[in-house]
């Protein structure tokens, strides 16, 4: 399945792009996608404890199941947040 992945803030800056399309195995979870991304760029590994993920503009957990054409946003720590 195809996902539209969006990058913001420090992640966008380090990757040098605002987003991309990523092919993922059907049935993949958010955690699976993060593992895939961490293999490609160490910023995802580095941010593993602090990065949150939103699917279709809603925060989700790692076990959230992804669907074709989902908009997946990688959310590094936000401007004002202390807890995450």
């Amino acid at each position: 399945m195809k996902l539209r992945v969006l990058y913001f803030g420090i992640v966008r800056e380090r990757l040098g792009r605002r987003g991309e399309e990523i092919e993922c195995a059907a049935g993949a979870s958010v955690a699976d996608l993060m593992t895939l991304l961490a293999q490609r760029n160490d910023i995802f590994a580095l941010g593993a404890g602090t990065i949150r993920v939103a699917v279709n503009r809603e925060y989700v957990d790692g076990d959230h199941g992804l669907a074709d054409d989902d908009e997946v946003a990688i959310i590094p720590p936000v401007a004002g947040g202390r807890k995450r």
């Binding site: 966008r12 959310i75 202390r82």
Partner: protein, 175 residues
């Protein structure tokens, strides 16, 4: 009522939006750019948002506030791009029949926004720049953290601060 904007925020306009003959009180909050943070001399702040989700989170925050307090109207606006010193990056206005409700709900809205809104802040200071709260930002700063923040020596000779390395080869935000 709920927006991400690129221009200066008008508090007057926001108050007019929530004002109503049914309201006896309007509480507002403005977050403004400070000249210093953790001993660093701030030159400017730059904000980036995930606008569609940010607006959706603003709506959810307001809806939750309405379940807790008797409110007339809520407006939440965040500015993106470069925000010069002293100017507002975020503004909240809450109207209610009574003052306690308006003030408490306004406080709740700004606290919630700081937690959940997908908005990022890059601080440009003398000697460097850093994404606030991020991986490279040593102690997860926010507007309330300065009191307990550590001071880090940083590179006054130019370039980037030692505690906030940014690869110059990477593009900067254009928002």
């Amino acid at each position: 009522m709920f927006a991400i904007v690129e221009q200066p925020i008008s508090i007057q306009q926001l108050c007019e939006q929530v004002g109503s003959p049914a309201a006896g009180a309007i509480a507002t909050f403005l977050g403004t750019t400070r000249q210093s943070n953790r001993g660093r001399r701030v030159l400017k702040l730059e904000y980036e948002a995930y606008p569609e989700m940010a607006v959706s989170e603003f709506e959810k925050i307001a809806a939750l506030a309405r379940t807790r307090w008797d409110l007339t109207a809520v407006a939440i606006v965040h500015r993106v791009g470069v925000v010069p010193l002293g100017q507002a990056s975020v503004a909240i206005a809450v109207s209610a029949p009574h003052r306690r409700e308006a003030i408490e709900a306004c406080h709740f809205c700004i606290d919630s926004l700081k937690e959940v809104a997908p908005i990022w802040k890059k601080e440009h200071f003398e000697g460097g720049e850093v994404w606030i709260g991020s991986l490279a930002d040593c102690d997860h700063g926010d507007d309330d953290s300065a009191g307990r923040a550590h001071h880090h020596p940083h590179d006054h000779a130019g370039g980037h601060a030692a505690d906030a390395p940014v690869d110059p080869a990477q593009p900067r935000s254009r928002r």
